[in-house]
Amino acid sequence: MKEGLARVLFGAAALISTLAVALICLFLFANGIPAMAQIGLPDFLFGTTWKPSADIYGIFPMIVGSIYVTAGAIIIGVPTGLLTAIFLSRFAGGRISSLLRSGVELLAGIPSVVYGFFGLMLVVPLIRELAPGRGLSLLAAAIILGIMVLPTIITVAKNALDAVPKAYYEGALALGATHERSVFRVVVPAAISGIMAAIVLGVGRAIGETMAVVMVAGNQAVIPTSIFEGVRTMTANIVLEMGYAADLHRGALIATGVVLFVFVLLICALFNAIKNRGERS
């Protein structure tokens, strides 16, 4: 009796996370899709004008903005992150390695508002000094996001590198390869699926980030023509206007959330595909 009850209770608890995903999908789609229909899907997705005061809701600049900012973050974050992961996995000695590892853990724990504020107070003024524009820009957002994806990329890539069998490395050394060549030509390629997974997770983190981006990106709902111009992401669009939006405007913001959600689901699926392929080989 007691055992049966416990099983039911535990099972019900396990159902909650699934239920949550279902509810999130349901509420987003139920509120977003009617708005999309009313605006017209092509106008909504590919319209380049976002002007709530005139009831014009085209989120193309925001989609492009999210992609630009994410790409910038990856360009900045991936090389630094991978090299750091390689350092931690194959170059660093015990003390330095553990020190840097706790540093990376700290980076992972720092709230995004703190990153955003740091960007606003240091990165933005620096860009304003050195380049045209107000400093609030695609570049600033890319730099801050590039920093924010570091812990994800470092941790996941390091785990992948650590899991490469020792025999590969020794085999390369035995052929007279240097430590560096053995690592870069044998160990890193052997860890490639884990490294790809790290990058995809970084993409997911960057595209979903909201507060840090809002604080440094300038948020103009226009497709930027240079990295020194402002940019608005999908996340920023929601957070900036949700506070006062009503009716179709509100629906359009939730629909923006739907598009973002679809992006995230695609990234999730990509991540799983890479992981499964890695496990099979």
Binding site: G171, A174, G176, S281
Partner: protein, 282 residues
Amino acid sequence: MLEAVARTRDALMGAGGVEEALRGLRAERGQESASKMSVIGLDLHYGSFHVLKDVSLDFPERQVTALIGPSGCGKSTLLKTLDRMNDLVPDCRVEGLVTLDGQNAYEDIPVNSLRRRVGMVFQQPNPFPMSIYDNVAFGPRTHGVQDRAQLDGIVEQSLRDAAMWDEVKDRLRKSALGLSGGQQQRLCIARALAVKPEVLLLDESTSALDPISTAKIEELVGELKRSYTVIMVTHNMLQALRVSDKTAFFLLGEMVEAGPTEDIFTEPVDPRTADYVAGRFG
């Protein structure tokens, strides 16, 4: 013999250098045949564990030398000392002399060129997770060969030398991980040959394989000794007897006895060698 070693050490301390010390040692033993590699008065510690105790041994050129003995006797460690793979072991301390062509392998030869000249095939086949071609081409590329035609030639020749060209010539671009265990091990031999080594170290390279693959590799080793000096560690007495020209027997970190393989197996001098050899056969 011990005296000779002591004198060798003295000579090393003095101004004579390695060449002279070796010459002295060989004269003492009445050896004429050239040694490709030698270890002289080798002591090796892992931390406080004394793994090899005052080992001296010559590896004759273009012959197969087998290192035998029970597990933990230090024979694999000795093998790894020859291409400095022991450098990877923390707390590993090597004293004494290892020579390649009369040069001090630890001081006169940069470690990467030592490892190019002294190739190694491990106990477990360890092909890289890349294509068969790239596996074999890895070594030459490492040492600066970029030319496509030249690489193709090296890959083909190495695979032929490892007696597997016909098996894999149609799937050079396929992953090496799709090969059978025996094929993987021969691929590793081909990969080692591709850098044109002078010495080939085989660390129980057939112990993870089935009898047919083992036979193929033994046959291959017989071929290889025409051009290479082969040093192999084996647990398999019969294998040592079948393949090797010279055998050294190790026990608890000491080299008990070394000599022509036939002598070691038929009329060993040391009773411990006799016990081991007989025990394994009986």
